[in-house]
């Protein structure tokens, strides 16, 4: 049990001094790497180390996500500062014998920014990391998330100790306001202000709630933080509780996030065992404990009032605001709901000061934002960049550009609630206000890169299919509106639409936007309106039924090699060897497999 701030500091010093390993082997054990056998790799290294009697010299650490998921499993060796990518089970032997035993680096397993370049030894040489600044993800990939000792060694719980020692909640809230931190869950409401409102609400009981119900398709930053650094969220929640005068915290987490939930439970127990959570924290007389509530699979529960109803054991349906949760929340008491990424920033802000945080980013958007980078991009993964970084920098410097020599068409940001950034606006700085100006929104952090082949109507349909499915059904505009919108889009892509459908779709979108009860419905038409604004011609091609949906073959160019015929998944290409091939257009699903297979560019795209 740690009873004072001084004892915490002493423990930290002991932990730093005790670290006497010659080498540390850090292996990513995030969900993505585990699906590529990272677990087995860890086991094999542990076995090897034990076999050679090197337990005192080499430590094998299972860390959280490094972010570079497209290159996983990733392995880092310190203090040599070497990173290996795409490590396979068969490589364990090589790395162990060459690097760990003999100190010879294995260049074949290093990352190359470009095929013709020399391999990059460490993260510093990898373009993926060069423009990143990791604050919320500072410990992900650095520490073992299942060990509180690792967290404490990296200044963990120091912010909490300082806050309790100063014993001045008003000053704490002022620091939060001065830092300019805004909610990272999508809305972007100033965090300090939210805390102040909840503090001002008079009540015998208040609640601190962590929203870990991350549900956007393609977004996984909250999962990575909880998997890689659960203690930072716990520490921030305790600080939050102290600031608003609450002694109960709740974490609402998606049931699908099994690994994150398990690590969270481990971390909570460790914090309790050390006296950092529970009664009389660090001898300050302040009590605070945290309970985990499992979600049961409903996207709308990311909306705070719906989330609160779900925790109370009801259907997760939203209610109108006001009253805001800061006045009437969980069990009817004032509640402060913050998102995982917002929390992960807080201990670092308090350790380094509001001024430091304010100096990062742009005027009205301070600090950094984590994005899940996916779609038609070379480097898929999790990136954290200062606010104000442009899309260009993320796509070309960090993301490595578009694969296959293709051109970019647009970026989708904010998931089912967001919009598209067109190719000519890629120099837009990413911050709350600039994004709103170009008709998109920050959202929770999904960023999908789309190349020139992307069909924007299909993209809208994809998001609408998601929202109409996830609409909770409480209010009519969202329940019926999104369904009808999806049907119109289906009609269009099935080539059964009319020009009138476009008018209908636009009117309906605006009605759903203005009449829906909660954020889900209000933002559901965004993907449609934003793509209609910039790519209206694509909608018209469908509406006027002039869109060509099948591939065809240029008879002048075809050499009859049969390659296209062999790859066609629906067998719609006919032709004999050395004769011109023909595509039956009614059967073609426009998958593009033949286009990629043709050696002489004879396939004509729709």
């Amino acid at each position: 049990m740690i009873k004072t701030a001084e004892a915490l500091n002493k423990w930290k010093q002991t932990l730093i001094n005790e670290r006497a390993y010659r080498l540390e082997l850090k292996i990513c054990a995030g969900t993505s790497c585990i699906s590529s056998d990272a677990d087995l790799i860890v086991e094999m290294f542990e076995k090897k180390v034990a076999e050679h009697g090197l337990n005192c010299e080499i430590e094998v650490v299972k860390t959280g996500c490094f972010g570079f998921c497209g290159q996983g499993p990733i392995l880092k060796i310190e203090p040599d500062n070497v990173t290996y990518v795409r490590v396979k089970l068969a490589d364990v032997e090589t790395i162990f014998n060459e690097h760990l035993l003999n100190g010879r680096k294995v260049y074949d397993l290093m990352y190359k920014n470009r095929d013709d370049e020399d391999p990059a030894e460490s993260e510093a040489g990898m373009a993926f990391y060069q423009k990143q600044l990791r604050i919320a993800l500072r410990n992900c990939g650095e520490i073992n998330p299942e060990k509180i000792e690792d967290y404490v060694r990296n200044d963990g719980y120091k912010a909490l100790a300082d806050v309790l020692e100063q014993n001045d909640p008003e000053a704490l809230i002022k620091t939060m306001r001065d830092s300019g931190l805004r909610g990272r869950g999508g809305g972007g409401f100033p965090t300090g202000l939210k805390w102040q409102f909840t503090r001002a609400s008079k009540s015998d009981e208040k609640y601190v709630i962590c929203n870990a119900d991350e549900g956007d398709p393609g977004a996984f930053m909250d999962r990575s933080i909880l998997e890689g650094d659960p203690h930072s969220v716990i520490e921030a929640m305790i600080i939050n509780g102290f600031a608003i005068g609450a002694s109960n915290g709740l974490i609402y987490i998606r049931a699908e996030y099994g690994l994150a939930t398990r690590r969270l439970f481990t971390a909570l127990q460790q914090a309790r065992d050390k006296g950092l959570l529970g009664e009389n924290i660090l001898g300050s007389g302040f009590d605070f404990d945290i309970e985990v509530k499992l979600g049961a699979g409903a996207f709308v529960c990311g909306e705070e009032t719906a989330l609160i109803h779900s925790m109370e054991g009801h259907r997760g349906e939203p209610t109108t605001k006001p009253p805001f949760p800061s006045e009437v929340g969980f069990r009817g008491k004032p509640s402060n709901v913050n998102n995982v990424e917002t929390y992960a920033n807080i201990p670092e802000i308090l350790n380094k000061g509001a001024e430091w945080f304010k100096s990062i980013g742009t005027r009205h958007s301070n600090g950094t934002k984590v994005f899940a980078l996916a779609g038609n991009i070379r480097n898929i993964g999790l990136v954290e960049v200062p606010m104000g970084t442009t899309f260009e920098e993320i796509i070309y410097d960090i993301g490595g550009g578009i694969p296959g020599g293709k051109d970019i068409k647009a970026v989708q940001i904010g998931g089912p609630s967001g919009g598209v950034i067109t190719k000519d606006k890629l120099d837009t700085p990413i911050d709350y206000d600039s994004l709103q100006e170009v008709g998109a929104m920050m959202g929770s952090g999904g960023m999908i890169i789309m190349d020139e082949d992307t069909d924007m109507v299909e993209i809208s349909k994809f998001y609408l299919d998601f929202t109409q499915d996830e609409s909770c059904g409480k209010c009519t505009p969202c329940r019926i509106g999104t369904k009808r919108m999806f049907e119109i889009l289906e009609r269009l892509t099935d080539m059964e639409g009319t020009p009138y459908d476009l008018e209908l779709l636009e009117t309906l979108s605006k009605n759903v936007q203005s009449a829906s009860l909660c954020g889900l419905g209000q933002s559901a038409p965004n993907p449609v309106l934003s793509t209609m604004k910039f790519y209206r011609n694509e909608y018209e091609d469908y509406a006027y039924r002039r869109k060509k949906t099948a591939y065809s073959i240029d008879p002048e160019k075809c050499i009859g090699c049969t390659k296209c015929k062999r790859v066609c998944p629906v067998d719609c290409i006919d032709g004999k060897v050395r004769e011109v091939h023909v595509i039956t257009e009614s059967k073609c699903i426009a998958c593009g497999a033949c286009y990629d297979a043709c050696p002489v560019d004879a396939i004509v795209r729709p």
Partner: protein
């Protein structure tokens, strides 16, 4: 319409006893908050939540059965239909489809002798076709419970399905 089973006598007594034991440990002063954890436990024990089980839970927690049914049907995690021990989710996103996910699905259905979203007769498998699971680099991709299988072909399925059959048989023996 499907006939609704409402008689609690049809439920397994032993499992029901375990569920009641679990309910006894809950703080029932906030009975509504106990509902979702109870449903989790019940689904873990029974594999799914038939109507008679929902009635039983409603009585035990002293809640209207309409409330219980409302919650069960709201969340996608809860199922009113029996589920196999292993849920096979085959991704039918565009990337997977063009790489032959439909053929993989057909093969799985043949091997397990089921239709999509129905449990196989031996109670081992439920096969689902799902929307993009975001692992397009591994297309065609499927998940069995939490394990991800990437770049699968119809021929791979014989071995994979057999390994689960064998695993289930070993579990039973031990």
């Amino acid at each position: 319409m499907k006939e609704t089973v409402t008689d609690i006598k049809d439920l397994d007594k032993e499992l029901l006893g375990k569920l009641d034991e679990h309910i006894a440990t809950l703080d029932l002063t906030r009975k509504e908050e106990s509902l979702i954890p109870t449903l989790y436990k019940a689904q873990e024990l029974f594999g799914y939540l038939p109507h008679n089980l929902q009635w039983h839970i409603a009585r035990q927690l002293d809640l209207p059965s309409a409330h219980v049914n409302g919650v069960v049907t709201f969340y996608s995690f809860f199922s009113e239909e029996p589920m196999g021990k292993y849920t096979i989710s085959v991704c039918m996103g565009t990337a997977c489809f063009v790489k032959g996910a439909d053929k993989v699905l057909d093969k799985i259905l043949k091997l397990t002798g089921t239709q999509p979203n129905e449990m196989s007769e031996d109670g081992l498998f439920t096969v689902k076709d799902v929307r993009c699971i975001g692992a397009c680099g591994l297309a065609p991709v499927l998940t069995i419970n939490e394990k991800v299988y990437g770049n699968v072909t119809p021929d791979d399925m014989d071995e994979i399905i057999e390994s689960y059959r064998k695993g289930a048989a070993d579990d039973k023996d031990s």
